[in-house]
């Protein structure tokens, strides 16, 4: 994964600022609660939701189990349909392939469909370094790009911005990138969407190269699928002469029929719609319709490391719906930036440390960025048991024994020893009870300080339960 976000502080530090920013808290609360309730209604419309979820899970597990075969098959099918397939082992290689392909067309600008894979590889910055300007065309990506900002949500990268902030960004920045914002632009969402339409139209009409990701690749047919709402995807996928799609190797589904599951579960889980406004499917190139040249870049970038972990590999089922972000109480308060990755929220907390490894401070802290409440698992349309993977990754982080974990390990093993010796435990309990009058309200020391900053300690009982039991029942 690209180093764009590395050097980030640990999650608790990064979250602290967000937690105490009332505007951000308000924006996140409003947006996540709006979509959370809508999703619940959209899902409740389907009596067979649990069965669709199980089918989606199994299709993905099956694909991942035979991923080598399906990758070869998708390569064959795309090639047979007139496309060219490239393989990228990491972000750098993917960016190099794309930059070379763009340069070969003689163009110095490209239009982009929102794509998590190219955000992950830091493609825009890599292209910029080669003198190629990449225009983001998804409304939220545009807001992020114009604002010189970072995405904070998978589906709605500008979720941390409210309408007033968006209007201010459009007014001050659009002119720098092309057509300026209309005079007297207000903050009504319809007017803001109209401003984006006008600003981007000239770019779509003159674009010669489009760059996309894909939601699905069908192995048996070589078909790519992009699910979107605004029509910017259709613009990028059909108007340019050259289309380059950068797609993670886990995005495969084996058969055309498999789409009947995911096209039911993805829109309802992400935008809470029965169906998103536009879904584009294409297979290689078609004479007289759309791009004449099509390149598919298959991206590994840490996915095979994730695949090798028997518990963690379920994260590769993810279809990037972001339902887990929208229900997550931690995401709602910490915001997306605190996760230090293009993948925020619960899925990011298990995906980033697997794609990037747990070497950095931020990645080692992400598995702990959860109260393990399980709301993410409950809404996941491919049943990724995120709490299970979080705990599994905590074990890996604890084993590597970094910052704070050596002492913690000693404490945990000591606790276990005590708990495995009831007589010693009982002696400790009695001591705590007997000295209860002496316990201060706020305590120093790691752990105790954090606890007593905002909470009183429970009042110590006069005796532990096991002593009461001995007196009354034994």
């Amino acid at each position: 994964m690209s180093g764009t976000y590395l050097g980030m502080p640990s999650f608790p530090e990064a979250a602290r600022e967000a937690v105490h920013d009332p505007t951000l808290r308000g924006n996140l609360r409003h947006a996540t609660h709006t979509i959370r309730d809508k999703r619940a209604r959209a899902v409740a419309e389907l009596d067979d939701w649990a069965r669709l979820r199980e089918a989606g899970k199994r299709i993905k597990d099956h694909t991942l189990r035979y991923l080598d075969r399906y990758l070869v098959r998708v390569e064959e099918a795309v090639t047979a349909a007139g496309g060219t397939v490239h393989w990228a082992a990491d972000a750098e290689e993917a960016n190099r392939i794309v930059a070379d392909l763009v340069k070969a067309t003689g163009e110095s600008e490209v239009v982009k469909v929102k794509s998590m894979a190219t955000q992950e590889t830091g493609l825009n910055e890599a292209l910029e370094a080669e003198g190629i300007r990449a225009y983001e065309t998804d409304l939220a990506e545009l807001i992020v790009q114009l604002g010189g900002d970072r995405p904070s949500h998978i589906l709605v990268p500008a979720i941390h911005r409210n309408r007033g902030e968006i209007r201010d960004i459009f007014r001050s920045e659009m002119g720098e990138w092309g057509r300026p914002a209309p005079e007297g632009l207000t903050d009504t969402p319809a007017e803001l969407a109209e401003a984006a339409r006008l600003h981007l139209r000239e770019k779509f009409l003159r674009a010669r190269v489009g760059i996309s990701g894909a939601n699905f690749m069908v192995a048996e047919t070589g078909t790519l699928v992009v699910v979107e709402s605004e029509g910017n995807g259709r613009m990028c996928l059909t108007l340019p002469e050259t289309l380059i799609s950068v797609v993670g190797i886990e995005k495969i589904v084996p058969t055309w029929r498999d789409l009947e599951v995911f096209l039911q579960t993805l829109p309802r889980s992400s935008t809470a719609e029965r169906m998103n406004p536009y879904t584009s499917m294409w297979t290689g190139t078609t004479d007289g319709d759309g791009p004449r040249t099509f390149h598919l870049v298959l991206l590994d970038n840490g996915r095979t490391d994730t695949l090798a972990d028997e518990v963690g590999r379920q994260a590769l089922r993810c279809i990037r719906c972001s339902a887990c972000l929208n229900v997550c109480p931690v995401y709602e308060r910490a915001g997306g930036h605190a996760y230090g990755s293009v993948y925020p929220g619960p899925i990011g907390a298990i995906l980033s440390p697997q794609l990037r490894g747990t070497g950095s401070e931020i990645d080692a802290s992400l598995p702990y960025a959860s109260s393990l409440c399980g709301a993410c698992y409950e809404v996941c349309p491919v049943a990724i048991d995120i709490p299970e993977v979080l705990v599994h990754l905590r074990e890996k982080v604890a084993d590597q024994g970094g910052k704070g974990h050596r002492l913690e390990g000693v404490a945990m093993r000591t606790a276990t020893w005590l708990l495995d010796h009831p007589a010693a435990l009982n002696a400790g309990e009695r001591l705590a009870s007997r000295t209860r009058k002496l316990h201060p309200k706020r305590l120093p020391g790691p752990g105790a300080r954090e606890w007593t900053n905002s909470r009183d300690l429970p009042a110590m009982p006069p005796e532990p339960f096991r002593d009461w039991w001995k007196k009354n029942h034994a």
Binding site: F11, P12, A15, V19, H20, R25, E310, P329, V330, R333, A334, P367, Y368, A369, S370, S371, L372, C373, G374, A375, Y377, E378, E388, V391, R394, E395, K396, V397, A398, H405, E408, G409, M412, R413, A415, T416, L419, D420, P422, L425, E429, P446, G447, E450, W451, N453, S454, R455, D456, L457, P458, M460, P461, E463, P464, F465, R466, W468, W469, H473
Partner: protein, 251 residues
């Protein structure tokens, strides 16, 4: 029917009143309950913090302590979830690591017998009216592990609704996590506190006298915040409400 109480380490050391209340409710319903003294802790703090191997001695201890009981009852949803959900995982990982099936067997022998208190009352005893009396307004917070891992659904609320004198008011945003999360509460103290604040704001908006829950670890966090803020509401475990009677009311 041999029934054992698994008091849990938190209740044993910090909230004996909850364990005592559980014994009283069970005895009032004619259940003869035992307290195997070899029990301590299910190992959830270790496991959830990433110390699976340090949990293993406690898995063995739990299985030994409760061997031979038909039912093991505990007033803590998250400890039941630990045994039911994570013990088999600990066993499976040990097998995968080539360390034999002993832990897996321990998990399999214990897990089916362990019940959260409201499950035991409603499903095993078939009771919702336990003869309790508690003339106060109560709002109920369903802790996450009870709600989502165990699927307790409306069992706690049905028990509360049957309590004489009790007025149950809906807690807004009830299904949202309170922010405790074990070591999360100290590792991510700012976020935990923000979640707790929102939960308490919702609880206080009901004007209830009592914020009731079925998991004392969550209540330790919420109750600690309520007391720190000197709020006119107290956190109370469900078992203590169910133990309260007209003859012996809880004050």
């Amino acid at each position: 029917m041999r029934v054992a109480l698994f008091a849990t380490c938190v209740n044993d050391a910090l909230y004996p009143s909850t364990a005592i209340a559980t014994v009283k409710v069970l005895e009032r319903l004619g259940v003869e309950v035992e307290f195997p003294a070899a029990q301590t802790c299910c190992g959830q703090p270790q496991y959830n913090t990433g110390y699976r191997r340090a949990t293993e001695p406690l898995v063995r201890r739990m299985a030994r302590a409760f061997e031979g009981y038909d039912h093991v009852v505990t007033p803590s949803g998250s400890c039941v979830a630990m045994v039911r959900d994570n013990y088999p995982r600990i066993g499976a990982k040990a097998v995968a690591e080539g360390r034999g099936g002993e832990l897996a067997d321990a998990a399999a022998s214990l897990a089916p017998h362990v019940h959260e208190l409201t499950e035991f009352l409603v499903d095993v005893l078939g009771v919702t009216d336990v003869g309790a009396y508690f003339p106060h307004t109560v709002t109920y917070h369903p802790s996450c592990h009870g709600l989502r891992v165990l699927g307790l659904r409306d069992r706690p609320r049905r028990l509360l609704e049957a309590v004489k004198g009790l007025e149950l008011v809906e807690l807004p945003g009830a299904e949202e996590c309170c922010g405790f999360g074990g070591t999360f509460a100290v590792k991510n103290a700012d976020v935990s506190e923000a979640m707790g604040d929102d939960k308490i704001r919702n609880a206080l908006s009901t004007d209830a006298d009592v914020l009731c829950g079925a998991d004392n670890s969550c209540l330790m966090h919420l109750g600690g915040m309520l007391r720190r803020q000197e709020a006119p509401q107290r956190a109370l475990h469900l078992a203590e409400i169910l133990a309260s009677t007209e003859e012996e009311p809880l004050r």
